[in-house]
Amino acid sequence: MGDKRSSHMYLTVNGKALDAHAGNLAALLDELDYADRLVATALNGEFVPKDERDAAMLSEGDKVEILAPMKGG
């Protein structure tokens, strides 16, 4: 088990409860097949830039937002 494959934990991702294995935000995007998509991320309400996702470690109960471009007024 490396840093990115810790034991599973419960997260809330885009408002939905999720049982994830990823240890950090970059690994979570991989796990959820978002890695190649144009998205922005926030962890517990704080913006996490793309190049800081590796260092953004996840903990039980964390809230993750994964946002993408959308129509807007």
Binding site: N14, G15, D33, Y34, R37, L38, V39, A40, T41, A42, G45, E46, F47, P49, K50, E65, I66, L67, A68, P69, M70, K71, G72, G73
Partner: protein, 255 residues
């Protein structure tokens, strides 16, 4: 032509990209109006990859994007959304919306000023969705906003310019600040009126997207904005109470 943070759009109409019946209708409307600037947003990405498809469409249209913080109700939420939008859309521009009341979607202008200050310190170029309140406008400018976007009427109401006196007053107090009427427009005449008041641009969405023929309405709005702008530049007559004959009286036959 007015500059918005150094950018001079050819069109004085800014168009929202939401609520169209289909991406094709949106594309047709953008092309019909020949707009340079469109508003966009960020939302939760689903499994269908809709976000990427939308981003590809916007790139295909070759327009400049103005991301918004629509739906945000507090400083923190708006600031975080703006930071996320900057990374995705690769622009320092942000249409800053901080909503204070759900029925009218009235901006929380106190939170707006605070969010604007934080974002400008972080390098953003802020387009604040505000009211016509002169004191708040002053504070937004002091915070570093170089553009103001007062509402015409609450978002989506199609009521036109609810407080024309307030909008005229704002124009008069800040003659050199780029001003955009944002929201509440329903008819081309509303958009033309905003330009006749001396506004630099009009931002609208629902009036076009919700029309029976969005493409035609987009074109109508573009023409109205252009007509209102030309009319303002042409130095129009002041209204008066008594009639003044336009045909010369001198030389009229005595019959």
């Amino acid at each position: 032509m007015t500059s918005f943070y150094g950018y001079e759009p050819k069109s004085r109409l800014f168009l929202g990209t939401a609520q169209y019946p289909s991406p094709k209708v949106l594309e047709d409307a953008v092309r019909a109006a020949e707009v340079d600037i469109v508003t966009v947003s960020l939302r939760r990405e689903g499994a269908d990859g809709a976000g990427q498809a939308f981003f590809d469409l916007i790139n295909h249209l070759g327009v400049r994007v103005l991301p918004n913080t629509a739906g945000c109700h507090g400083v923190k939420e708006a600031v975080t959304t703006a930071q996320m939008a900057r990374e995705v859309f690769r622009t320092p521009w942000i249409k800053l919306e901080v909503i204070g009341e759900n029925d009218t979607l009235c901006p929380d202008v106190v939170a707006l000023v605070e969010a604007a200050r934080i974002l400008i310190e972080d390098g953003f170029e802020v387009f604040p969705y505000c009211t016509e309140d002169l004191v708040i406008a002053e504070k937004l400018l002091a915070a570093g906003c170089n553009v103001l976007m007062p509402w015409g009427a609450p978002i989506g109401t199609a009521r036109g310019l609810n407080n024309e006196y307030g909008l005229r007053s704002l124009r008069g107090h800040f003659p050199d600040v780029p001003l955009v009427v944002d929201a509440g427009i329903g008819l081309p005449s509303h958009a033309a009126r905003a330009m006749e008041l001396g506004y630099d641009a009009v931002l609208l969405n629902s009036a076009v997207a919700g029309a029976g023929d969005p493409s035609k309405m987009a074109k109508a709005m573009a023409l109205a904005v252009e007509a209102g702008s030309l009319g303002r530049e042409a130095d129009p007559l002041d209204p008066r109470d008594m009639a003044v004959p336009s045909t010369p009286v001198f030389g009229k036959a005595m019959l």
